[in-house]
């Protein structure tokens, strides 16, 4: 593979971002948008070309492009590792990004920050590509933080809204917690292998597994590999919004909808999933860490889904759905089914981006109304949006032959096949999650597109269907949402697509176990009739229909009957309450104490002012010696002389006496 071509993939969006960001006012709105789109389209084409080259048997590429610095034997460099895993991610990232770029032209049409927005999303594409293409931990971390920064900027894109500022700060802070763990994990890898390079670390993974780490001098040692993997996974928990670090993702919906689609559904939040899959040689060495991953993922998958049921904000429902689906992917990782996780990541990227963009189209059509209670009956007024979101919803709930079906069903089967500690709980969660997913997804579809119109006067007055620059991306995403699973499930999961880029120990290889019963995509779909998830999904859709369209009053009755449960869900399990009132208050208290006690009293008071005061005090005393009188100076000189002579006389090392 040509390194220059690979370099061009991230550099094109970067160049576009720089030009549109710095010269946006100069070159104007249209030029900025076209430039950004051209940059991302170029990257997309090149990525597709790279992927097809790999599919046609090209060897994977792993080389350093640029050495940044060499410190104490540690090489810090920019390098690319292009294998089938990263190539797949590149294609997904650039394709969704391209769709979002095009869609943005319509969505942000009236916004003052048009050029700025394009600069940000192009920059995001660059950062995400750097993350995905990296061949070392440092560059991974760079991309990791860079996408975090762009996410921060974009959540707070409408920076005059206090809620947006609160949300982006929250996202930033929560991600710091995760990144701290991530950094510790990277440090652990560096400590044990002496290198930041993936290849070195992966090759030495079995050796790391033999080490034991004594944290803070405790007698009971921890297996080093478990500590490293859990630390790395904590980073993934922050970025991929796993419980309990998920709290930022629903709030991130303050950002413009294209961003929610691109960053907070399709790409950035899946960085954690990608990272764990990339680190599979490390994670495979620690069953404990994988069990941890499994349990966290399962909890997220089920319990975040519940929250989607009670929300009325269309974007937040999709956001909770994203959380839940990320939990599914994490479960797959925990069950050692990395390829399934990536497969689900890919299908999810398409249909979730589709759902988000469709939600955005609805929001724009409704003139910035996000409350589903004020929608309804939009089916006939925006048919393209309706049909595409229906495809997305069907894919999401796992309707046979849709892309989501293949990934989700394979995922559930893989968890079922797993014997890891916690897999029983995980299996329960993901299976029950199917019902929940179907319920909230179709609750959203029914509330928005079916039933009677509940539009208020304002929305009715300004209602207008969206243009083709927004519908186009919807269609472009609907096609893969519908088809990609059918065509790729066979080769990608069971055909050894990933080759050596994902390493699974034979004992853990649940995907192979699932693959034994796999006889083509069509029969896989037919067999689902015999499995529980399909019926659960159907049940979910039916209950949604029942409670939303047929008997809405029953929903209210249940809501009143189980008031405590409803309050628990509406308050998001009190995570935010806990964070704000316990963690944040405690840290503010700690900060205040350190400020008043540590900084002002000790550092300022004793060390800074104190030392100056001490010097001043001593100087004040010493000053008295400086009387300005000659004789006193002379006196002290003589005193010194007397002392020196006395020293020479009694103790000193003068010339020895001659005998």
């Amino acid at each position: 593979m040509n390194p220059n071509l690979l370099l061009a993939i991230p550099m094109l969006p970067l160049a576009a971002a720089i030009i549109a960001g710095l010269g946006g006012r100069l070159i104007g709105r249209t030029a900025s948008a076209l430039l950004a789109i051209a940059g991302v389209a170029g990257a997309c084409l090149l990525s597709v070309q790279v992927l097809s080259a790999l599919l046609h048997g090209a060897a994977s590429y792993n080389a350093t492009v640029y050495t940044w610095l060499l410190s104490d034997g540690v090489n810090m460099q920019v390098g690319f590792l292009i294998d089938r895993l990263s190539a797949l991610m590149m294609v997904v990232v650039t394709f969704v990004s391209l769709c979002v770029h095009v869609y943005t032209i319509g969505y942000m049409h009236d916004d003052d920050g048009f050029q700025r927005f394009f600069a940000y999303i192009a920059l995001f594409t660059f950062a995400m590509l750097m993350l995905v293409m990296s061949n070392n931990f440092l560059q991974l971390f760079f991309g990791w933080e860079a996408v975090g920064v762009v996410s921060y900027l974009l959540i707070g894109f409408w920076y005059t809204r206090p809620s947006a500022i609160f949300a982006n700060l929250k996202a930033f802070l929560v991600n710091r917690v995760g990144d701290f763990g991530f950094l510790l994990g990277i440090a652990g890898v560096l400590y044990y292998t002496g290198s930041l390079d993936y290849q070195v670390a992966f090759d030495q993974a079995p050796q790391i597994a033999t080490h034991t780490l004594h944290i803070a001098g405790t007698a009971a040692g921890w297996p080093a590999i478990t500590v490293i993997c859990i630390c790395l996974f904590i980073g993934a928990m922050g970025k991929s919004a796993q419980v309990p670090l998920h709290v930022w993702l629903p709030d991130s919906m303050e950002g413009p909808t294209p961003i929610s689609a691109l960053i907070h559904a399709a790409t950035m939040v899946t960085a954690g999933i990608f990272m764990v899959a990339r680190m599979s040689p490390l994670f495979e060495q620690s069953d404990t860490a994988l069990s941890f991953v499994l349990v966290i993922g399962a909890t997220t998958a089920l319990f975040m889904g519940f929250l989607g049921i009670v929300n009325n904000d269309i974007k937040r429902v999709v956001a909770y759905s994203t959380l839940s689906q990320l939990g599914y992917m994490t479960v797959a990782l925990g069950a050692s089914a990395y390829s399934v996780a990536i497969f689900h990541l890919m299908t999810h990227a398409f249909f979730k981006a589709l759902l988000f963009l469709a939600a955005g189209a609805v929001i724009i059509a409704m003139h910035h109304e996000q409350d589903m209670r004020k929608m309804g009956g939009l089916r006939h007024r925006m048919p393209v949006t309706y049909w595409t979101s229906l495809i997305g919803a069907l894919a999401l709930i796992g309707t046979p032959f849709f892309s989501g079906f293949y990934s989700k069903d394979a995922l559930i089967e893989a968890v079922h096949a797993s014997h890891r500690w916690g897999s029983g709980y995980a299996y329960f969660c993901v299976t029950a999650g199917v019902f929940v997913t179907a319920f909230y997804t179709f609750r959203m579809i029914f509330m928005t597109f079916h039933g009677e119109s509940r539009l208020d006067h304002h929305a009715e007055e300004h209602f207008h269907d969206v243009g083709w620059n927004m519908k186009g991306p919807l269609v472009a995403l609907a096609i893969p949402s519908l088809l990609i699973g059918y065509f790729t499930v066979g080769p990608e999961l069971f055909g050894g697509y990933f080759g050596s880029s994902i390493r699974v120990l034979d004992a853990n290889d649940v995907v192979a176990e699932v693959g034994r019963d796999f006889h083509g995509a069509a029969s896989f779909a037919e067999h689902s009739v015999l499995h529980l998830p399909l019926w659960l999904a159907l049940l979910g859709v039916l209950s949604a229909w029942h409670f939303v369209l047929r008997r809405p009053q029953q929903a209210t009755a249940i809501q009143e009957r189980f008031g405590w449960l409803y309050r628990l869900l509406v308050n998001k399990y009190y995570f935010d309450w806990f964070n704000e009132n316990v963690l944040a208050r405690a840290s503010r208290g700690l900060g205040l104490a350190l400020w008043k006690g540590g900084d002002q009293a000790v550092i300022d008071g004793v060390i800074v002012d104190g030392s100056a005061g001490a010097v001043g005090w001593i100087a004040g005393r010493v000053r008295l010696i400086q009387s300005g009188f000659l004789y006193s100076y002379a006196f002290w000189m003589i005193v010194g002389l007397v002392l020196i002579l006395g020293w020479l006389l009694f103790a000193g090392a003068g010339p020895a006496a001659q005998s």
């Binding site: 000659l630 004789y631 002379a634 006196f635 003589i638």
Partner: protein, 101 residues
Amino acid sequence: MITLGHMLTLSAVLFALSVAGIFINRRNVLLLLMCIELLLLSANFNFVAFSRYLGLVDGEVFVFFILTVAAAESAIGLAILVVLFRERRSINVEDLNTLRG
């Protein structure tokens, strides 16, 4: 016979006297200057004595330079004294504490 010990002792006495003079005449700048001359003389005594008893002429060369410096010093010192007296009508050291810290 004059031994080295004789000369050094004499020089020590002269030195001690000049030191005492600095204390006793601590008000009079003029006398302070004279005491310094005496002090330099005692140093010169040591140089001459060592020079002679070691048979090296270099010590006497140093005396020569000390004399030069002492002459320059007393010339400038007295000049300052004169200027000072014009300004303050006094050569009392206790009046000269402008540089006091």
